[in-house]
Symmetry: C4
Subunit: 259 residues, 4 copies
């Protein structure tokens, strides 16, 4: 059941994928009042069916794995538990608010899909590139955050007496993040002339800054793809070739394809 | 008529290009009430002229191609038919709403322009780069969608009691997509302090994520251009090298540098 | 005067640069009613001074160049003329509206600054990269425009009965451009559920599309910089090095630095 | 104390980091009226504690460094002074407005964190890439600014009679910056048909322009990483090669591959 390589394992994985996607779709529709009120009985029944199915799956997993304890303590084991356990609490606390939050826990099962998809070749290259540039991206995001705090505070000093959107520093930092990332909701916007001039410079700055993570990722993807295409010549050690090369392009010796 | 290499074929293609562009312009202007009411008679006449011309073109194509059936069943054959057939239905259902949707089908002919332009050298490199990175981009977009569903649901739990913009999960997911892609309409924006903090992190995350497809495309374009700068071996014709290679990496023969 | 290499030419260029920048600043301030009303007399005087200075410059240029005719017919000659000629028309048509448009022509002199700056080393690499990828970018932008027309029309069909923001096709195309480019003003936003779902897909698509010009430019800049750093070994022809290499890294022969 | 390499120096640095972060957090919370009114006494006490701690730090630094004068005149010395000096002025001018601006100076200490973090390996690559492409980015941003001035003025001429958002040229330039950088607040948006058409072209242009800094940064990061993967010659120490080089390109000696 845990080995995706067997046919049965694949069928199980696809079935689980369909189950999770349909459960998430159900949860989404349930949150729309006009739909959930109309088909209240249908939703209630389907909810119980999904709960039973996921409970069976959890018990099966506990039974199948070599170490039930390790599974229960693992990241995915926790998610599987969190997706079913709170639903049972509804019988004791049937208020609507609790109910919605409890339901939301089931969305955590989206991580199961992440896990399934990550074995695809394409996501492997992406994953490697992400892992390789992870620390650089984190350092960069930290700089962006510091910058947002500094620029947000600056705008606070300039605008807070004229603009209710900048009435506190955290609010101004929120505006700085919205601006630097070029999202630009417009719920908070500078009102004074000085504020607009500073904002213009922040935008142009943010425009240049967005190039940094892109450069990092580009470098990582390019290198990752190069690596998967190359091999060294065993005779002269000097050159590096594409996978399909049969002779070394530096010394002319034959290359062993199996090398 | 199908061979763009002959002079007559080129003239036909350019004529068709002008016809399609002017028809699309007409359709656009027709949708503007202030214009369409003023020149109603002109529009009506022009509409009939275009319909006749496109009908003639369709019949000509059916007559010219080797297999009329294969053309009619092809993607472009379907588009050509969809662009003219519904217009005839106006005589039977002359209501305005049906009329506008029927007209819109003609816009499908924009794909004809895509087809014409794709033979340009520039769009060929773009096309190759797109095709090569297509699967990676799709996997990436799937991850972004999963992320949007997860983050949208999270914001729903945080905001739905205080903000009508987050009153359903699909609406919150719509907000998450608007935010991660840095579009940021501002029609839905977080209102609570916790919501704004989470939103700030989502924006900074989205800022880093946008680097991924860019990295993929950069790598693809760079590789595609490298390939077009390499040379073929004059002995075995099979392999492709960098400009500075001295020996063919497929057959081991010396390469003439002046080649 | 046209040769920036002499000391006098450099001083003239810097003087002209200051003149143009201060004139543009003046024009900007003049458009702000609260400022222009207060210092009306000052502005009037400065306007006349600038007009006289630029007129002298134009006459000097006409006098200095080898062919006065060719200069007058050149792009920069036209701009220089357009920047001064309309100002004289104010005496005949002193209405305010005409006045403002006439003044705006002076802003065309910004192109003079472009011309001055383009000799810097940094802008040369940018320029080369832009020129090299120009045709590809144009083809790409044409695709984006076609896509915006198609998606705008699609949204028009979906939304036009429920949303005044999508009441005509051109307006919908405007929305599509705002969305695909991730600008997202929010002055027009989808209102129906179907519209929001389509909009979400358009945004995610636009997110992937923005990677294309970036990939093109990255490839162009990388290649442009590589070119300016490399030289070939005159002994073995096989290898390519950085500018500072003294010996060939493939055959060990000494490299002539002047080579 | 200035040497981060000793254990004591590291502890001091970490302590200072915590102190600065908690002080910045305090300043942020202080700007939120609902919080600062509730815990006014707590804030007052903590403010004094932080002031004393930072004053001690400043005096310690003055005492420890070899040249007290040079430290006091250095960038970080100025920041350290600005972070404490104005706070003492509160006793003389206790108005609230002065108070907030004075407090904001403490945020300048964020630069201290920048200084601490910049020794991390990851930020070093980023820093080098930024420094290398700094001049190019500046030239590019200057072009963007000129473009924004030109396009803003163009939109001013088109829109200023119909749209209060474009009533002055500086305001129109602000709009142009918001648009080209794809921030798109929506507080100013074109209202006329001509304005919307021009705006659409500006957006598509801005879409292509954003590729330029990204290309520059990508090239810089890729080169920076290549350099860090290269090795030094053990004979002359002067030159740097790719991993596969067989001879030193500076002194011509054979390179040991295992090196």
């Amino acid at each position: 059941m845990f080995q995706a390589s067997t046919t049965a394992g694949k069928i199980f994985d696809i079935g689980l994928f369909i189950l999770i996607v349909s459960n998430i779709t159900l949860l989404m529709l349930e949150s729309v009042p006009s739909v959930s009120l109309k088909y209240a009985a249908v939703f209630k029944t389907l909810d119980i069916i999904f709960l039973v199915l996921f409970s069976i799956e959890y018990l099966l997993r506990l039974y199948c794995v070599r170490s039930a304890k390790r599974y229960a303590a693992s990241f995915y084991g926790m998610i599987d538990l969190l997706a079913i356990l709170p639903s049972y609490m509804e019988f004791f606390y049937p208020q609507w608010h609790v109910f919605m939050i409890v339901r939301s826990f089931r969305l955590l099962r989206i991580f199961r899909i992440f896990k399934m998809v990550r074995f695809l070749d394409e996501s492997r290259v992406l994953m490697f590139a992400l892992v390789k540039s992870f620390r650089k991206i984190i350092v960069f995001l930290f700089f962006v955050l510091l910058l947002a705090i500094f620029l947000g505070s600056l705008m606070y000093v300039v605008e807070f007496q004229h603009n209710p959107g900048f009435n506190t520093i955290p609010q101004s930092i929120y505006w700085a993040v919205v601006t630097i990332t070029t999202v630009g909701y417009g719920d908070v916007a500078p009102a004074t002339a000085v504020g607009k001039i500073i904002a213009s410079f922040i935008m142009i700055l943010g425009y240049a800054i967005i190039a940094v993570p892109t450069g990092i990722m580009s470098a990582a993807v390019i290198q990752e793809e190069k690596k998967s295409r190359k091999k060294h010549c065993p005779h002269c050690f000097a050159a590096v070739y594409g996978k399909e090369a049969a002779f070394c392009s530096a010394c002319g010796q034959k290359l062993d394809q199996s090398f």
